[in-house]
């Protein structure tokens, strides 16, 4: 293809590039305004007093000092980290196992099972159903417990239990993950056959062939779920409102309350900048210790 380009080809290429720029121009401007600009702005507002009335002024590290002296800060961080760890421990592996096992079924069975498994429930509906099940007086779980003659629990009203209660819906409200299934289907059959010749059994094949092959996808999904779990908002907001007391208030909820309920935009942004650096540190650590390529 690297022949000397004559004039007509050159002209056509220039035209193609021009069309290429025209088609992305609006999105380019949009991504500038709503994608990158807010991130830049956050680092400015974090250093300002942002009042509703009157101009904002720069105040140095004041906002950060206020955030750090807030007695709620360790609480919300503890809640968020606890939620993330618990939720990863309980719910991250299940879709992977399901995806691996699902592909062992007969072709027709895979179809039926996947259709059933992908039936979606809207996010809010799922959360509300679980909230109803947790109800102390009438909820399903306490009904089951008392039917079995066990002492009933206070579920969402119990500070020690509330975070676990927020995590549990993830155990059944998931889909096996198109991404895992796609990556599993990309594994060449010959690998399994040669593993078999070398005497690998069921577990051996999972350990030596499947998991190493899925590693990049698992690493990526782990990264994405750590980041999204750390920013949890909907579940605690709807199920508990952050309670009892502050036992289930997450960091993003704290940012929300600071900024949009107390109207302290400067302090809220300072907190979200701090949180930003923590999350970026997590991303960095993960990228460093989970090298992505396996075919070395």
């Amino acid at each position: 293809m690297r022949k000397k380009p004559d004039k007509a080809v050159k002209k056509q290429l220039a035209h193609i590039r021009r069309v290429g720029w025209v088609t992305i121009l609006p999105q380019l401007i949009y991504q500038g305004i709503f994608g990158w600009f807010p991130i830049l702005v956050a680092f400015i507002i974090a250093f300002q007093t942002f009042r509703i009335i009157g101009p904002s002024t720069f105040t140095g590290w004041d906002n950060f000092k206020i955030v750090f002296s807030d007695p709620l800060l360790p609480v919300v961080f503890k809640n968020t980290i606890y939620y993330t760890i618990l939720s990863l421990a309980l719910t991250f592996v299940v879709p992977i196992i399901v995806a691996i096992l699902l592909l062992e079924m007969r072709k027709s069975m895979i179809r039926v099972m996947m259709l059933l498994w992908f039936i979606p429930i809207s996010g809010m509906a799922g959360i509300i159903i679980w909230k109803m099940w947790y109800n102390v007086n009438y909820g399903l779980f306490n009904q089951i417990l008392s039917a079995l003659g066990l002492p009933t629990l206070r579920w969402l009203n119990e500070p020690h239990l509330v975070i676990l209660c927020l995590v549990l819906p993830g155990l059944i409200l998931f889909a096996p993950g198109l991404i895992y299934i796609a990556s599993l289907q990309g594994i060449p059959q010959e690998l399994y056959e040669s593993a078999e010749l070398e005497g690998c059994g069921f577990w051996g094949k999972i350990w030596y062939v499947t998991l190493p092959r899925m590693r990049p996808i698992i690493a990526m999904m782990l990264l994405l779920s750590v980041i999204s779990k750390m920013q949890v908002f909907n579940e605690p907001m709807v199920m508990t409102g952050g309670g009892p007391g502050y036992a289930s208030r997450s960091v993003v909820m704290q940012i929300y309350f600071r900024a949009f309920q107390s109207l302290k935009f400067g302090e809220g942004t300072a907190l979200s900048v701090i949180f930003f650096f923590i999350l970026m540190a997590l991303i960095y650590i993960q990228r460093k210790y989970f090298k992505e390529d396996i075919d070395k």
């Binding site: 429930i121 399903l140 059944i172 499947t210 960091v251």
Partner: protein
């Protein structure tokens, strides 16, 4: 295949397969329980809601649905002023508009990066479009709110146009449809999906069409679009359910209830019905009492939840074939 094809008749192999099948069906059943619960509960009269649990309703009734649709007539609570269809209409407006722009915008970006730009620019622009995906969204929450509240300036203080005393034109979008729509018009994730697919379409196809004298947009319309139906279906489905379920952003930027999408309104109603009414026994709240007398509470909530879930479910039915095919998409490396 973890289990070799040949030995599948042996007893212990069949046992393993049986256990796996059982495990998977258990998962599916657990997954479907909330649906069963939601549907049966919504058809129960209030006195059966907690007494029959999992059983189907003994006296099926539509009272919950009737009450939900007659909300403004039966309730005095401030969060129940407007009839339900207002929120469904709002959700439809938000979802339709945002979906359209997201799909068209990201498909064009992905096509341009994949087929039209020079390799060097393509890499740079890719980072520009995808980069925000890797940055935790919470950081731009407050700045976006401020930008929306005096668009396009994130400050209270609007600078003057140089050499005049006139402030730059700006607009407060808060409490309007635009407050929800504007910040969501583009989503980097779909660029990733589209680009992965377009990269797999051979360049020869496009070059041949160019030789035939097709315009660039003509090629996109006549050659790329028909080929990319699966990826468009997957993106449409993802985009639809993401916007329909969006809760946090509308909650932040909308104070006027008339503009709430159904997801936020569901949150508001469940606060009225469950938080005040059912967690404390012996409530005296007149609205809750009226709801309970009329035979609704959690059954009404479940009726609402079903109404909210139906559009997502319809989308699933429409796109299911393409979603199943979409498994073979090369969206991710």
């Amino acid at each position: 295949m973890l289990i070799p094809e040949v030995g599948r008749k042996k007893f212990h192999v069949r046992l393993v397969i049986g256990i796996i099948t059982g495990f998977l069906w258990l998962g599916i059943i657990l997954h479907l329980i909330p649906f069963w619960w939601m549907i049966t509960t919504s058809f129960k009269p209030y006195y059966e809601v907690f007494s029959t649990s999992f059983l189907p309703p003994r006296h099926p009734t539509l009272v919950a649905y009737k009450l939900i649709f007659s909300i403004p007539a039966t309730a005095r609570d401030v969060s129940l002023v407007y009839p339900l269809w207002v929120y469904l209409k709002n959700s439809a407006i938000y979802t339709g508009t945002i979906m359209f722009f997201q799909i068209v915008g990201t498909a064009l970006v992905a096509y341009s990066l994949s087929k039209l730009q020079s390799p060097r620019w393509s890499r740079l622009l890719f980072l520009f479009f995808i980069g925000t995906m890797l940055i935790p969204g919470q950081i731009s929450l407050i700045p976006r709110y401020l930008i929306i509240s005096h668009f396009p300036f994130p400050t209270k203080h609007i600078p003057n146009i140089p050499f005049t005393n006139i402030a730059f034109p700006h607009h407060n979008f808060l409490n309007s449809y635009w407050a929800v729509i504007l910040p969501m018009l583009f989503s980097p994730f779909y660029v990733l999906l589209f680009k992965g697919f377009f990269d797999g379409i051979p360049n020869e196809l496009i070059n041949a069409a160019r030789l035939d004298g097709s315009s660039e947009m003509g090629i996109f319309r006549r050659i790329i679009l028909p080929l990319s139906k699966p990826v468009f279906a997957v993106v449409s489905y993802f985009s639809f359910s993401a916007i329909w379920n969006e809760f946090m952003w509308p909650l932040i930027v909308l104070q006027n209830q008339k503009l709430y999408p159904i997801s936020v309104q569901l949150y508001m109603i469940q606060r009225v019905l469950s938080h005040r009414g059912m967690t404390t026994t012996g409530t005296t709240d007149p609205d809750v009492l009226r709801f309970l007398e009329a035979g609704t509470g959690y059954n009404g909530l479940m009726a609402l939840a079903i109404i909210e879930s139906i559009p997502v479910f319809i989308m699933f039915i429409i796109f299911r074939e393409q979603l199943m095919k979409g498994i073979k998409l090369r969206g991710f490396k």
